[in-house]
Amino acid sequence: MTGAAETTSVNPVAPVNPVEGPADTAGLSDSGGGSSRFPGRPIQEIVFPIREQYLSVVQGYRDDGFEMCIDLCGVDYLTHFNRQLPDGVPPERFEVVVNLLSLSTARRVRLRVQLPESDLEAASIFDVYPGVEAMEREAFDMFGIIFAGHPDLTRILMPEDWEGHPLRKDYGVGRVPVQFKGAPGPR
């Protein structure tokens, strides 16, 4: 575990990665200066599959020994649209971020799938990693991302009849004034 800078590489496993050519590793590190003190830093790739190839890329990693899907979450880039992405990856409003973990080689890989606002549908990787069941439901609940093929894509944290998806950037943060019991009302 040396302090090697994190690389943004093309997928060495599945030949279906849409990132053409070597991505710029300098501009897209995970953070600032490298340090071996930080977990997850030394060996982590970031891959940008397009939506159509997302499932097959995940399957490729699964076959390559990434036993566990450790995390899946959504990000809404509405007000930070022009973030740094490698060439050939057009930015879209939403991203699905998947962190895979290989226990045998102690490696992590992160997949970032771009999803346009007009068509918020990605394939569910439930059949590859059943552990994403709750995580995909959470991403659906919070961002409205549809995971096609998920066995039970319902709200998980918000009430069933809730309208809207709270972690979207255009979802207002409401404030409820604090009411004390017995406090005199406005005159």
Partner: protein, 513 residues
């Protein structure tokens, strides 16, 4: 695997009274729960790769079915309806994948991978079974967890955890708070190990900032989080004992936890929700005489773990209620993304402190505790022995604690010392700026994970260059681990459901966030 030293949990757990289950053959332990055996057998025959079986060829092919005339004679069903001629496919022609989704819509059984979908008995679920609800207000659900059970007599068939009752939108709140305020927010997620939450956020922010901390800050963090692991596991021992009817264990567990919390109060000012570990270091240095306090905690808790052994480990009632209850195979645990003691109890020696070391865990000596059977007893043994290992780590930390600063001397993230504020206007402004505006963090994304008492606690942090996180996602181990409940409970008795739920150790604050 990075060759962690594995110790048999039963070696230590059995020590006091010499009852040794590891000597028993596996079959004998399984015999305790006859209901369990058949399910597990079929589960284990399924392949481990995480794929559902390819659909079995139905007994009657669709072509054969279509040959049947519309009069209803023959195999298929058909009827004249207001919509015209309708043909119904026989149940036996529904492929297993479809069946699984259909069944899952009511009560979810996510282990389609490990239990053959063709085995799902649809006919049975109509008449003979009953759906009952437990929670969200139930003392043994450890908070506001609601469980829906499908029961056949007293046997649990399917379970659905329903969560969200404690959802307060903390990830949304985090986007409104600066990085300085962030740890106040995350510390309330997993309220039994608040320092781990603070640590993972601080590590993520520091990774984006690219700052290096003085060694003492790291060692203080290790000391505090290891103590927190002890207190969290003690709390688990207490509540697990209570769920199984041992109120003595509850009292003892809380008694020992109180010592740790008293030290936390002395150091951080609060018993819980400390806001002690912050981006850039810690809030304060350790108090004078901390070595003695910590040594007393170690010297007290370690012999007390032997008392727990005497109280629980060898007790026949306790063993019958834990052994071979809620069994889980390593394949199932990996497929369901389980981490922490649950994963280790199935025999997978995965501990981030060992496998992907952070802070200075590569400089301390400890064993990764693994189980064998993945049942409730193994999860108990793993946690009990992890208390001992944590105490071992804490003793080494006390020896190795380096002198120096407890926070980074980077004016960008660190407020000036209190004494400077009285004498310098600039220091006052600086202090004011840090605590109102916060500091700007460079653009980028980072995923950082640490080993919390419940498993992998991750933080995915997105910064847009401002002083507030653009997105902060916490990967709560309890949230993911709850998915194990349907698998662990299937085929078990309803009376064991509480015990199984307890052995997962969910903290609802972290599940719902």
């Amino acid at each position: 695997m990075t060759d962690p030293t594995s110790t048999d949990p039963e070696d230590g757990a059995d020590g006091a009274d010499g009852a040794d289950t590891s000597a028993l053959p596996a079959t004998e332990r399984e015999a305790g729960a006859p209901n369990d055996t058949t399910i597990r057998a079929s589960a284990r025959e399924g392949e481990s790769s995480g794929h559902p079986d390819t659909p079995q060829s139905p007994p009657i092919s669709r072509d054969e079915y279509l040959k049947v005339g519309p009069g209803g004679e023959g195999i298929g069903l058909s009827a004249e309806t207001s919509e015209g001629h309708q043909e119904l496919t026989r149940r036996s022609t529904t492929d297993p994948g479809e069946l699984r989704r259909e069944v899952g819509a009511v009560l979810r059984l996510p282990e389609g991978v490990v239990i053959d979908p063709a085995n799902i008995d649809v006919e049975q679920s109509d008449d003979n079974t009953m759906i009952i609800n437990m929670g969200p207000q139930h003392p043994s659900t450890h908070g506001v967890l609601r469980l829906m059970f499908e029961l056949d007599g007293e046997t649990v068939l399917r379970t659905k955890p329903v969560i969200g009752y404690l959802h307060t939108g903390m990830e949304k709140t985090a986007e409104e708070l600066t990085y300085v305020q962030g740890s106040t927010n995350v510390t309330r997620m997993d309220y039994l190990s608040p320092l781990h939450n603070e640590l993972v956020l601080s590590l993520a922010v520091e990774a984006l900032l690219g700052i290096e901390l003085p060694p003492r800050a790291d060692w203080i963090r290790m000391l505090m989080t290891e103590l927190n692991r002890v207190s969290s596991h003690l709390m688990w021992m207490a509540t697990n004992g209570m769920d199984l009817g041992s109120t003595s264990m509850m009292i003892y567990g809380f008694r020992e936890r109180e010592m740790v919390l008293a030290f936390f109060e002395k150091t951080t000012g609060l018993r819980m929700n400390h806001n002690f570990i912050r981006p850039g270091g810690t809030a304060a240095d350790l108090p004078d005489g901390w070595e003695d306090d910590v040594t007393i905690i170690c010297d007290t808790v370690l012999p007390r773990t032997d008392e727990y052994d005497e109280l629980l480990t060898g007790q026949p009632l306790f063993r019958q209620r834990t052994e071979s209850i809620g069994r889980l195979s390593a394949e199932e645990a990996l497929a369901l993304s389980l981490t922490g003691p649950i994963l280790r109890s199935t025999g997978v020696p995965w501990d981030l402190r060992r496998s992907m070391p952070y802070l200075h865990y590569d400089q301390v000596d400890f064993d990764v505790i693994v189980g064998t059977y993945g049942d409730n007893f193994d999860r108990y043994s793993v946690r009990l022995n992890e208390i001992r290992e944590s105490i071992r780590i804490i003793r080494q930390i006390v020896e190795k604690m380096p002198p120096g600063d407890y926070r980074v001397q980077d004016k960008k993230v660190t407020p000036p010392p209190r004494a400077r504020i009285d004498e310098s206007m600039e220091a006052l402004i600086h202090h004011f700026k840090v605590f109102t505006e916060g500091f700007k963090v460079p653009e980028g994304e980072v995923y950082v994970a640490i080993e919390s008492p419940r498993g992998e606690l991750g933080c995915y942090l997105v910064s847009d260059g401002s002083s507030k996180p653009y997105r902060m996602h916490i990967r709560g181990p309890s949230f993911v681990n709850l998915q194990a409940l349907p698998v662990m409970m299937r085929g078990g008795l309803l009376a064991d459901a509480v015990s199984v739920c307890s052995s997962v150790d969910p903290v609802m604050g972290e599940v719902d966030r």
